[in-house]
Amino acid sequence: MLISNLEFMTGRKVTKHLGLVQGSSVRAKHAGRDIMSGIKNMFGGELTAYTELLQESREEATERMIEQARSVGANAVLNVRFSTSSITAGAAEIYVYGTAVILDESET
């Protein structure tokens, strides 16, 4: 599965558009990490626990999007966009969406 945030694939033609596919994931951290982050918060700087959490969350959302694209028979997802919204403090929703397409295998 090819994932790209460009609108086309260089050198390959889109033979069919299959519409929008999407994936989302909502996550919160466990309390221990939250407390550690709270202490670190006093001094500023990067909160590695959160960075990892959101990274994982994004991977999961992408995975779900790919799953959906696969089920409609696509072999690529183009023009992918991410969006984040904070639901409450400590939990965030990651949303990823794109256009599922079928690209021809032949080279132009």
Binding site: S4, M42, Y50
Partner: protein, 147 residues
Amino acid sequence: MDQILIVAVLVSLGYFFGRRAEKKHFISLIEREKVMNQLPAMASRMPPQDNRYEQKLVSGNVVIANDYFKTFVAGLRNLFGGKISTYETLLDRGRREAVLRMKDQAQQFGAELVFNVKYETSSISGQDSRKMPIIEVHAYGTALKKL
């Protein structure tokens, strides 16, 4: 009286540690940016048509928090309005770090260009103004490798 003391201790701790960490971060950012300049990232949506490329989505993210001192200063600033430079450096650090991480990923892929770079900034700490601001910056783009 005790409360004032606690705030004073937190502010001074935030000032010393936060300042040191920020200085160190900026030095490392400048160094890494010099190295990574050979891999340009662009906001353009049209990749060059002269070659065939292999594409891959690359991304970098960072969650960064303000220190106590800066939040305190920003709180005072809020009374009078105007430029809050303590937040500006925070966002600047976040964005530059995120782009560097994205480029790291692109370099591992063997790319020579990153196209259609998009930034996304969100506040993790929610809307509660009493809380310390924590922001997340996510940068993503398409890495192109010549075939």
